[in-house]
Every structure is written in C-alpha cells, then in structure tokens.
Amino acid sequence: MATPVVVPPLGTNVDTGALVTWHKREGDSVTTGEPLFAVETDKAILDVEAPASGILRGVSASEGDEVPALSEIAWLCAEGETPTVQSSQQPVRQVHPVHPVHQPNSQAPVHRFASPWARTLARERELEWTILQGSGPMGAVLARDVEAARPSPRSPVTPLARRIAHETDADISRMTGTGHLGRITRDDVTSPNDPREPVETLALTGIRGRIAERMFRGAHETAPVTLTTEVDATSFVEARKCIVADGLRVTYNDMLLQVVSRALREHPRMNATYEGDRAVVRRETDIALAVDTDRGLLAPVVRGVQALALPEIAAATASIIERARNGQITPDELHGSTFTITNLGMFGIDAFTPIINVPECAILGVGRIKPTPWVVGDCIGIRQAMWLSLTFDHRLVDGGPAARFLHAVAQAIEGDR
C-alpha cells in the first residue's frame, strides 16, 4: 500500500514551511530513513526522512513552494503501484515572487498519538516521532514503529562492562563493541579513548547543511579573486567616539554598512547578483551582515541601506543580529541581499579570503583595528590600521572596477572624502 509523505509539524504557531529541496525525484527509489526533502521554517531547515521504502510518486509540491504542516505532498509506492489516493489538498502555493499573504491553515488541527514508550525511544534515538506512520489504535505511534524506523543502535554489552560503565558514568550508548558479536566489553569501557575514534560525528543537515552547500557553491561555482588593502582607520575610530559620546549606540559594522552602501551606489556593478547567465545590477543596497550564532553562521539582511541614516542602520542591525542569535529571524530576512560584510576583527584577525555569499558579486572582509607604525608625510606615526579583504566574482566584474570600489571604501574610512 502506498505510504503518504507528510510534511511534519513545524512547531507551535507555525502553519507552513517552505519546501527547500527534494533530495529525491519523482520515480526515485527510496529506503526508509533516507533524507527525502528539506523544509524550512522560520527557525531552521528540517530534513525529513522517508517514512517507508518505495518509489517516490505523485509529488505535488515543488522546491520553493509553501507547504502546510501535516499536508501530504507525495507518496511512496510499491513497484508498479500508483498512488491510491490523489491528494485532494492543494497545499502548494507559490511564495516567490508573489507578495506573501499569510493564510492560516484552514484544516482542523490533526491530533497525533504516540505511546509514552514510543516517545521515550524516539527521544533516545533522536528521531522525530511525528513523522512516523503509527500502527497502533487511532494511528498511534508505538515502540515497534520507532524500532522499525530506527533500530536500536546499541551494541550488546557484557554485564561486567555495564557495571563498570555505570560506576564510572561512561556513556556506552556511543561506544562500538570490539568483543564477540560486537559486544561492548570491559576493555571498551575502560579504554574508550581510541585516538582513531572521532570525538563526535555531526550530520551536515539543517542550518549546517545549508551553510555547507552555500559555502561550497561560493567557493566552487564562482570565479573568486581577493583584493586586500590596509587602511588608516584613525579618523574612523575618532568619528565613532564622537558619535558614541553623543549617546548613539553605533558599532563599526553600522558605520561600515553606511560606507559600503555609499561606495556601492558609486560603483553599481558591484551591487549585483549572478542569475543564470546574467549579472543583475540592483539599485537598492540590501547588505547582509555575517553573524556568528550558536546554530551557525547566519547572514541577515539590512534592506535599503542607501536610504537609512546611521542611527536607523544601527537600530536595524541591532534588531536583526539579536533575532538571528535568538532564532527569531524569518527566512525573508535571510534572503535577497546584494552584498555582504563579514567582520572578524573581534577575533583578532587581520586579513582573510572571504567566500562569496552566492549569488552576490562580492563580499567585504573586515579585519581588526590595531595601532600600527604608519608613514605620515615624512615621519612615522602610530595610526589605527585596519585590513580590508574584498572577494569578488570575476565573472561579473574585473579587477579594475573591483579595485576602484575597494579604494572608494578605503578612502571613506580614512576620511579623505
């Protein structure tokens, strides 16, 4: 019998998510537990595993579509079988580029059941039980459903090893047994620190997977060139001191956003994105700011920077950074930038080669500001020096225009203009 592929519950008060990608295509053969598709919520990208084995058929949602939680978007069929029920729901709604209108999910909430022991097992095995097909009364997920989806990873343990593990608080659940039939023995428990064993293995899924994919594309699908220059940021530092003394909370990043936005307006070819075979030059400077969060690197976007005064930039930046860090950032705020600034100054880094935030044309890496001997006229003085590293996509622009853009940024920071 065909098994429906269901969008999992996406969280409290979350009706829909964006279908990011299908890992499998219509007609592909799929086995239980394989990643099937990825759906993005406002918090994360969730990889959904196949609830059963079979042939993927009746795919009714495409990448980029908005799909309601618990809607059926495809079927897993046996060989030669066609989906018995055509999905009557029309879950699919184009989000891009139509202006998003929030439509609450009109369906009644679907209650799902799982036995306590099934929940316990699912939790232990880090499996989301809500995506499983329950075989119990009222479709309740029982322990056997969890077992089928993710069999016990545990190796058998000798009684002595279990006792030692208990006494020493060793975690046997992640150990690999070396004894007879893979049993975890005393030796495994007492010397678990095999230097060849990885300390941990993390799946590159969710946000991490998204970062991996985008970074790979930035590094391998563009023609990156990095230009560096050292600038005298003394007056930049002084300017910030004055602004802060006036009671405004402004960071170097806020000031850099303004400087970069102005330079982009003068060098519009740098304010471009690569789309298909075209370089699409944008009028608005929507600048992304790389933010280091607990969940990984996020690049929330400050929109229309060219139209904002410095205090407005500061307010917008503070807001998106905070929401990026506490997980409240929405997918919209992470998309559609035209340029990116990444600042590693606070980590004591001088210069580096940033990876382009595809499909943008360029990214500016900012190093630390530090007192440096500097030639001033015929003398050597101490100035606040700062390195700038601009990586650009040579497919879209050449070295000359990129260098002129970087020079414009440098001049603005040095206060020559």
Binding site: S115, P116, W117, R119, T120, G136, L142, A143
Partner: protein, 338 residues
C-alpha cells in the same frame, strides 16, 4: 519436605508457631468444636487435640466481639490468630479493625503494639452476595493494617508465620478455591495449589512479591485465584507467540512496587487481573501506580480485567461471567499486544 495444600500448610504453620511461642493462640467460630470441621475450611482441624480449648478458643457468633478480644490480647502481650468464617463478615468488625487495631499504634505514638492475625476466606464459590466477596481492598485502604494474600502452600505457611511474628495487625486473605480440591470441605471448581512445603522453620517476608512466570511481552499482575487464571492464560498466549510475565505480589500491603515496575519497564505493557469489583478497586490502584511511576516505559494503556460492579451472583452461570476467566485475560492481552 512434605507436599500439601494451602489449608494443611496453614495448619502446619499455626501448629509450629503455637509450639514455638506460648503466647500464640487461635480464636474464632467453631474452630475447635468436637466433631466440627476445624473452622469453615478445616484449617484448624485437629489442633484442639494438641493445644486444648484454651489455646484453640471457640467464640460465640460475634465477629465484633472476638475481634475485640484479639486486639486486647495482642495489646497485652499475646499473639492471637483469629479466624473469620467468611471474609464478608469482616464488615461486622469494621470498627474494631479500622478504628481500633489499625490506629492504636499511631495514636499511642508507637507505645502500643497490636500483634494479631485475622484470617479471612474470600472469593466467589457459588455462595452469592454475602459469602463470596473479594474485599481485600477495603483493608488495603486503611493505614496501619498489613494485608497478605498467599496463593501457594509454601507462601501460605511462610506468610502466616511472618504474620504471627509481626507486631502489627495483619489481615490474611485466603481464597476458598485455593484451599485444595480434596477433602470434606473442597469447593466445587477448586484448584489444588499443592506444593512442597519445608518441614524446617522458614518465613516468607511480608512485602516481597514473586514472579510466577517470566516473559518479555506483557506484565500480568494477579492475586489469589487470578494468579492461576493469568498463568493458565499465558499458556494460550504462548501459542500466539506472546510471552507474558506473571507477578503475584503475595503481600498487598506493603506492596512490592519495584518488582512490578521493573517488569513493566521490561515488557512495556501491563494488565492487572482481579476478582474485585472494578470501580475504585485494587486493580485501579496498581494501574495508577504503574501509570505514575512507569509512564515513559508504557507502550499501551494499563488494562484492568475485573469483576463487574455488581455483588457476586449466586447463579452459577452468572458467577462464571463475574469472575475474570482465562478467556478474558487472553482477550485483554491480545488486544493490548496487537
């Protein structure tokens, strides 16, 4: 080592305790009368010949009265074993048991002890509403009373000896169908839990359960007769590939919770089988305990197989429907495991 039934095992236990300790004596209705049965179910048969009517004391038909005598004797240093002909008559002495025996030690701040045993036959045996009730749960609800319910000859003797030596009032419930299937007072439909009983002195500690059968798929808890119903059910379940674990708590108060919980943590399914009326019953308490303390190990709701909420019927056909049958246990387990 001798082979005997529960009635004989109890008699041997009483005999040994009376020989061991001169403060131990029996009292009850028709327990020592010449030419009588030795109580309603032969447990004290012949003891009067060895110990005389002063230590095998026949009382008037006054349950409240002889219970009061037992309490008073216990408080003043004796160790009485009282015998109520039918457990149903315990209601006559409810004030003596629930208000006096159970509370005295508490009210006296531990200064007074009430060592006494009250033996009471229970269970449906074609005797109808006033002579066939299963009423242990009325007493498990009263703090201060210990309640035991042996289902084998070995446990009967061992628990009786432990009860005699306990400084608290202990109610001992015996199932009429388990006394034995032979002899003048054998009940129709009786099963014979005959077993080996050691000759030497031993006790079965109060508060310790027994696993009657090991299994991995479902835990069945029963007491007295329903232990045997559960065991009979496991044979049929095994044919279906279901391995049931059967637990006999043996002591109802204090309960061997850990044995039950440990079993549920292994099997993830739980059935309690009781001859008690369902509502607010013993099974309800055990199921609630399991739900509270082993919730995250349960793969299905706890299930009760109980008598319906009516008095035990007199009509044999109705009585068969009243007492949980092997079929009902099998059906409940199959539904749970399906």
């Amino acid at each position: 080592m001798a082979t005997m039934g529960i009635a004989e095992a109890l008699r041997e236990g009483i005999r040994e305790e009376m020989r061991r300790d001169p403060t131990v004596f029996c009292l009850g209705e028709d327990i020592g009368v010449k030419g009588g049965w030795g109580g309603a179910f032969t447990v004290t048969l012949g003891l009067v010949d060895e110990f005389g009517p002063e230590r095998i004391m026949d009382t008037p038909i006054s349950e409240s009265g002889f219970c009061g005598i037992a309490i008073g004797a216990g408080v003043t240093g004796m160790r009485p074993i009282a015998d109520v002909q039918y457990g149903d008559f315990l209601f006559c002495m409810m004030d003596q048991l629930a208000n006096q025996a159970a509370k005295m030690t508490y009210m006296a701040g531990g200064a007074v002890k009430v060592p006494m045993v009250m033996r009471a036959p229970v269970g449906s045996t074609r005797r109808g509403a006033q002579h066939a009730q299963t009423l242990e749960v009325f007493f498990t609800h009263v703090p201060g009373l210990k309640v035991v319910a042996p289902s084998t000859a070995y446990d009967a003797k061992g628990l009786l000896k432990a009860a005699v030596r306990d400084d608290n009032p202990v109610l001992m419930f015996e199932h009429k169908l388990l006394y034995g299937s032979k002899g003048g007072r054998a009940e129709k439909g009786a099963i014979s839990p005959v077993g080996e009983v050691p000759d030497e002195d031993y006790i079965v500690p109060i508060g310790k359960g027994a696993i009657r059968r090991e299994g991995r798929d479902v835990t069945i808890v029963g007491k007295l007769l329903t232990v045997y119903r559960a065991l009979a059910a496991t044979d049929r379940l095994a044919e279906e590939g279901i391995e049931a674990e059967v637990i006999d708590p043996r002591t109802l108060i204090p309960l061997d919770k850990e044995m039950i919980l440990e079993s549920v943590r292994k099997t993830h399914r739980f059935v309690v089988v009781e001859e008690d009326n369902r509502t607010h019953g013993w099974g309800a308490e055990i199921a609630a305990m399991v739900a509270e303390e082993a919730f995250w190990w349960l793969d299905a709701p706890p299930v009760r197989v109980s008598a319906p909420d009516v008095p035990p019927p007199f009509a044999p056909g109705l009585e068969e429907l009243y007492v949980p049958s092997v079929e009902r246990v099998v059906e409940a387990v199959c539904r749970l495991v399906a």
